[in-house]
């Protein structure tokens, strides 16, 4: 079924591209389709059917969130309700495929919502391959509390996305980031958490101390970050459920920053500065045992594990400029993987394991880019005055990062971009934001 849809997408691409290309140039008809050029797949999500009293509003709201999730990927294009010839008023009735074909809806999502006497809701849905005239996979049903309706909508969208693309989705996920207010020379920073689409914002710290670069644990229940609560930069760990925090290491004296969890959540890697020299350490959380992984007079920082936990990519200026290196998770010899022009920092291993995202500085500009784990096939996805700090969506398809604008009124905000370089757009936040960390899919 997935193959059918992908084939449809490609056919559609050529159909739509040809006239445009012909108009754009007077030479022979020639289409250059790169990885980054895909015509979005048209889909329709009529309002979900309310199957009990009082479910009408939430049935509409859920359909809107599903549609926004799919459209937001840049891979899908919603057909607006005004174009509908028929709509769906009964979840069990046969779909009038001809009506949906006529408006070129390649995919159709129908759904229904009911609210029970205790206020819990149940959502069910079906996905249709309109041109094949059949259902794509089987219908699914989710139950939950009314407060959790957005999560259920995201779960529906994840399932739809997954059935059509063959990849897992990323909508039922959260982002922890640094909320920023105030001018550059008096900026207030506090940790905030929100749904991936900006909804359900919650602050995790106050703005009395500088906080930097939060990082989710692999299970999404904890956050590592750097705080100046003691007057000096130290790594803290915060439990999201209880919103309680503690300094990661009891011993004082050092400055520590740039923490990340190992994929099993059992240990943390971070930078420690001693006598002006920053090196990478690994700490076992249960025992508190600290192991030094690098010992060079240069700056070693921004470590990130491979998803299998066997390797660590990090940045170092041991060659004279900031470059990316890979070493075994227990330290030892490191091999340099970045060789292009400019400086490379903040490497982050993709959850798929195949790519490393990074920040690149070259000729006064900043870029977010990706390369293979051996450093080959470098591709820059963005360019601006200041882009930095990439984080991967749980399925490795999208990268979120910080973009800061220049000048006295410069401010930071969150952006996302598809790994293909398409679909660059701001992420909705309340006020400024920086240092996003994308959670895994929620359980």
């Amino acid at each position: 079924m997935t193959k059918i849809f992908l084939a449809l997408m490609l056919v559609l691409t050529s159909v739509h591209m040809a006239p445009n290309a012909a108009m754009a140039q007077n030479g022979p008809l020639r289409i250059e389709i790169t990885d980054g050029v895909i015509e979005p797949l048209p889909f329709a999500v009529p309002d979900f059917v309310a199957e009990s009293n009082g479910a009408g509003q939430i049935a509409q709201d859920i359909a809107r969130v599903v549609a926004a999730d799919l459209s937001g990927t840049g891979l899908f294009r919603e057909i607006p309700e005004e174009a509908f010839i028929s709509t769906i008023t009964n979840f069990a009735s046969p779909v009038q495929f001809a009506d949906w074909k006529a408006i070129n809806a390649q995919a159709l999502v129908s759904g229904a919502v009911s609210v029970d006497s205790s206020g819990n809701i149940a959502v069910k849905f079906r996905v249709y391959d309109v041109f094949a005239g059949q259902e794509l996979g089987n219908g699914l049903r989710f139950r939950g509390t009314r407060d959790g309706w957005r999560r259920m909508a995201h779960k529906v969208a994840d399932a739809v996305y997954s059935r059509i693309t063959g990849e897992s989705g990323y909508f039922d996920s959260r982002v922890v980031y640094v909320s920023e207010t105030g001018p550059k020379n008096d900026r207030k920073k506090r940790l905030a958490i929100m749904d991936y689409d900006g909804a359900n914002l919650k602050f995790l710290t106050d703005s009395n101390n500088i906080v930097l670069a939060p990082r989710f644990s692999p299970s999404g229940d904890r956050v590592l970050y750097t705080s100046y609560e003691t007057g000096f930069p130290r790594v803290f760990v915060l439990d999201i459920g209880s919103v309680t925090r503690r300094v990661l290491e009891a011993q004082s004296g050092d400055m520590s920053f740039a923490p990340r969890f190992s994929p099993d959540g059992q240990s943390v890697v971070f930078s420690v500065t001693d006598g002006g020299n920053s090196d990478i350490y690994r700490m076992d959380i249960a025992t508190g045992t600290r192991t030094r992984l690098t010992s060079a007079p240069s700056i070693e920082t921004a470590p990130s594990f491979s998803p299998d936990g066997s390797k660590i990519v990090f940045e170092s200026d041991r060659s004279g400029t900031q470059q990316l290196y890979v070493m075994n998770a227990n330290g030892g010899e490191a091999s340099r993987i970045s060789f292009g022009q400019g400086r490379y920092g903040t490497p982050v291993w993709s959850p798929r394991g195949d790519l490393i995202a990074f920040t690149k500085q070259n000729k006064g500009r900043f870029h977010i880019g990706v390369m293979r784990t051996d450093g080959s096939e470098e591709r820059l996805l963005t360019a601006s005055f200041l882009d930095e700090g990439p984080t991967w969506s749980p399925n490795g398809r999208v990268i979120m990062f910080t973009r800061e604008t220049q000048g006295a009124n410069g401010s930071a905000s969150l952006y996302s971009v598809d790994v293909s370089g398409r679909n660059l757009k701001p992420v909705r936040t309340q006020g400024g934001g920086s240092d996003p960390s994308w959670s895994p899919l929620q359980q």
């Binding site: 001018p183 550059k184 020379n185 900026r187 500088i210 930097l212 670069a213 750097t226 003691t230 007057g231 000096f232 930069p233 004082s252 400055m255 920053f257 740039a258 930078s271 500065t273 006598g275 002006g276 020299n277 920053s278 700056i299 920082t301 921004a302 940045e315 200026d317 900031q322 920092g345 903040t346 920040t359 500085q361 006064g364 005055f385 200041l386 930095e388 700090g389 800061e404 220049q406 000048g407 006295a408 410069g410 240092d435």
Partner: protein, 171 residues
């Protein structure tokens, strides 16, 4: 008002006297421009050579760095030599050395760079005889710019290490 003025004038005179008994006290730096009044100065103010305000403004609490560098410049060394003299004279004070970077750089790298700059200052002060127990370093990376434009005029002021005088270290 008059009696208050009289008291503070007395106090000023006393402090000035005690300062004069200190052989290392004022050096050459005191005479020019620091004293506001004809015969004295306000304790704790910039005109009081034993005050952190004097250290900050008359001696100069900061040194600047070249792009991506933590090497002290000649001007920086001159400032730090004067800082060291002051710290030797005013032995009750501690100092926290803050290292800062401009915004051209990633957050983590700039934290490490700020630590390098703070440490370069600390090493120089140690070499001048300040005990390490009186010095502590902290990096702020690019988190605390003092100038906010996005060009070299501002960046050059933000690439700095600032020696902050404090009564004592608690942590």
């Amino acid at each position: 008002m008059k009696s208050i003025l009289g008291k503070s004038a007395l106090l000023v005179a006393f402090v000035a006297l005690s300062a004069c008994t200190n052989p290392n006290g004022l050096g050459g730096g005191f005479g020019g421009g620091a004293g506001a009044g004809a015969n004295g100065f306000e304790p704790g103010s910039v005109s009081d050579p034993t005050s952190p305000a004097y250290f900050q403004q008359a001696i100069g609490d900061r040194v600047l760095f070249e792009v991506d560098q933590s090497t002290l410049t000649n001007a920086g060394r001159a400032t730090l030599t004067a800082q060291a003299d002051w710290l030797i004279t005013n032995a009750d004070y501690m100092a926290i050395i803050e290292g800062h970077a401009d915004e051209q750089g990633t957050r983590e790298y700039n934290l490490a760079l700020g630590a390098r700059r703070a440490n370069a200052v600390k090493e120089f002060l140690l070499s001048q005889g300040i005990p390490s127990s009186r010095l502590r370093t902290v990096t702020f990376g690019k988190e605390r710019p003092i100038e906010i434009c996005s060009n070299e005029a501002c960046y050059s002021q933000n690439r700095r290490a600032v020696t902050v005088i404090s009564a004592g270290l608690t942590s």
